[in-house]
Amino acid sequence: MNRRDYLLRKFGLSLVTILVVVIINFLLFRVLPGDPVRSVIGRNVRISAETQKALREQFGLDKPVFPDQFFDTLGQWARGNLGISWSLRRPVSEILISKLGNTLLLIGLGQILAIIFGVLLGLLAGWKRKTAIDVGALTFSLIAWAIPTFWLGIILLAAGSTWLGLPTGGIVSPANTGKPLHTVIPDLARHLILPTLTLTILYLGEYMLIMRSSILEVLSEDYILTAKAKGMSHWQVLRKHALKNAMLPIVTLIALNLGFTVSGAIYIETVFSYDGLGKLFQTALTKQDYPLLQGAFLLLAISVIVANMIADLLYTYLDPRIKAT
């Protein structure tokens, strides 16, 4: 397939996916009892009937749901207007932006560490197949898969705070709240250790498994046999011929994993009361703050879809086989 056609198809699919997310978000908002006017007036029931009616008209709620209301809402979302949070009484988009950085910091750190250790261990496990290293690596990834994210977080939280004196939650100590994060890096780092560790342990296993099976596949190719026949050492074969080719599936996995990473962030931020999007999502859920919930869902889903598309794009540059027409 032509690379341009391939990219166009992927791009088209991403657009359709975003549309599906938008429609789900719109529909869910409509089936809820009450209507979006509540999202503006919050729980303030003392607003007069006339004002409510005026608000309804202002929001076009007297118009048909489709197409008028749908496209109105779509236009609002496109302009970044996601409504007002019921519980926090602030614009949803403003709240989301204020938490985004913290979450990116946490999942970025966790992912990078997981990729580095996962690739190294997977390489080792595949190369030294059927040895103690391999069995150990496989056992680890199996258990990491079977452990619920939040429970691992709870264990590390309990162990880390009791035995290592690490903070039990938050992103900085109470004394440092409100200060710009780059001025309190040592404190921030202490708070990041446990959540990052949880994230790393959880995602490491998967990278390791993929790297292992990928390196096994590459090592069964004939060009590896040729390289070996030329008298190259194992290490040379791995470095010059195997590693680059085996790394390809990791790129796809990073993209596919983004969805799981978002799930992980929701659990981990909840357990460690880490002030990010995941914790926000959980708070919105328990407080039944629907505008906030919908806004957070929209943001998370669209970022994951876009990231997937970028990964696909990257992949076409990395995999020479896709270039062929």
């Binding site: 699919l13 599906v20 194992h234 357990v271 999502f281």
Partner: protein, 327 residues
């Protein structure tokens, strides 16, 4: 009928012979079966009810009593027996997991068979749907769905809501797997022959395709069960379970919310997690072994064994053998 029975019996014996040799699979089967047994016969494993409050001699509730003071696993924040809750929680966790897993398996098989067998635009459409579902982050989607469904006054138990949402979201991997398998079976000769003698689509799918992919479906279902149980525990931990029928995830939600960690009540927050790992690990081990047996892959690669392909004689042995040859 009799011949088919003999054939079936031989297949089962063959299967058992291979399976028995696989230790991991056996461990998995034991883990899963033991948990199911505990769930089914829960009342036999504890003298209490999950809601019973354990009291001391003065009639006060024993809150956060460690295992050394009460029972095998102590009590929770309200003085209820943790072991009893764990045993009864098995019922909820396993039931929700199994029901959701079966829904997912059913949808996945249906989509997979339809897409693989009919091909063409049906295939494209169904596969695009799985592509779309695959990219939307699952937990946020589930949370939004569950939250909305609970708000809609549908008058169904929160557990059923969980079953429906998990079942409706986790069928994509099954659909892909089944589809690829159906694609290869469809090209086999016996299907072509059946078609040549005028067999209809329904007949071919029922009599020729389904029996071939059934083992794969079974193996995959076991794997899906582990996902379903894990996901249920997560949703319940976030407070979406049924507080009146606590699953292991709900227990962890209670433990976390009612500060079992700061109270050092490890007997409250550790056992439910171990129980979840017990079952999911069992399902994964069992499912992987079943899949491996039904879908054998490569067993060796080129860098295994010796560093050199031909054993190079070293200098000493070369000269040695040389001198021998001369003399």
């Amino acid at each position: 009928m009799n011949e088919r029975w003999i054939l079936f019996k031989r297949n089962v014996t063959d299967f058992w012979r291979t399976f028995r040799r696989n230790k991991l699979g056996l461990i998995g089967a034991v883990l899963v079966l033991s948990a199911v047994l505990v769930a089914v016969f829960a009342p036999a494993f504890s003298p209490y009810k999950p809601t019973d409050v354990i009291r001391d001699e003065n009639g006060r509730g024993l809150t956060f009593a460690p295992p050394s003071v009460h029972g095998p696993l102590g009590t929770d924040d309200a003085g209820r027996d943790v072991w009893t809750q764990l045993v009864y929680g098995a019922r909820i966790s396993i039931m929700v997991g199994f029901l959701a897993g079966f829904i997912a398996m059913f949808i996945g098989s249906l989509f997979g068979i339809t897409a693989g067998y009919y091909g063409g635009s049906v295939d494209t459409l169904l596969m695009r749907i799985t592509d779309i579902l695959l990219v939307i982050p699952d937990l946020p989607l589930m949370l939004v769905l569950v939250a909305t469904m609970r708000q809609m006054d549908l008058h169904i138990s929160p557990l059923i809501v969980l079953v429906i949402v998990i079942g409706l979201l986790y069928w994509t991997s099954t659909a892909r797997l089944i589809r690829s398998q159906v694609l290869t079976i469809k090209e086999r000769q016996f299907v072509a022959r059946a078609r040549a003698i005028g067999a209809g689509h329904a007949h071919i799918i029922r009599k020729h395709i389904l029996p071939q992919i059934m083992p794969l479906i079974v193996a995959n279902t076991v794997l899906i069960l582990s996902t379903a149980i894990l996901v249920e525990s997560g949703l319940a931990f976030l407070g979406l379970g049924d507080p009146t029928q606590p699953s292991w995830g709900t227990m962890l939600n209670f433990a976390f919310d009612r500060s079992a960690i700061t109270n050092g009540a490890w007997w409250f927050y550790l056992p439910p997690g171990f129980a979840i790992v017990w079952v999911t690990l069992g399902c994964v081990l069992l499912g992987n072994v079943l899949e491996e047996m039904l879908n054998p892959r490569l067993t060796e690669h080129h860098l295994e064994g010796e560093q050199h392909m031909v054993s190079l004689p070293d200098a000493q042995s070369l000269s040695g053998s040389g001198s021998e040859a001369v003399s």
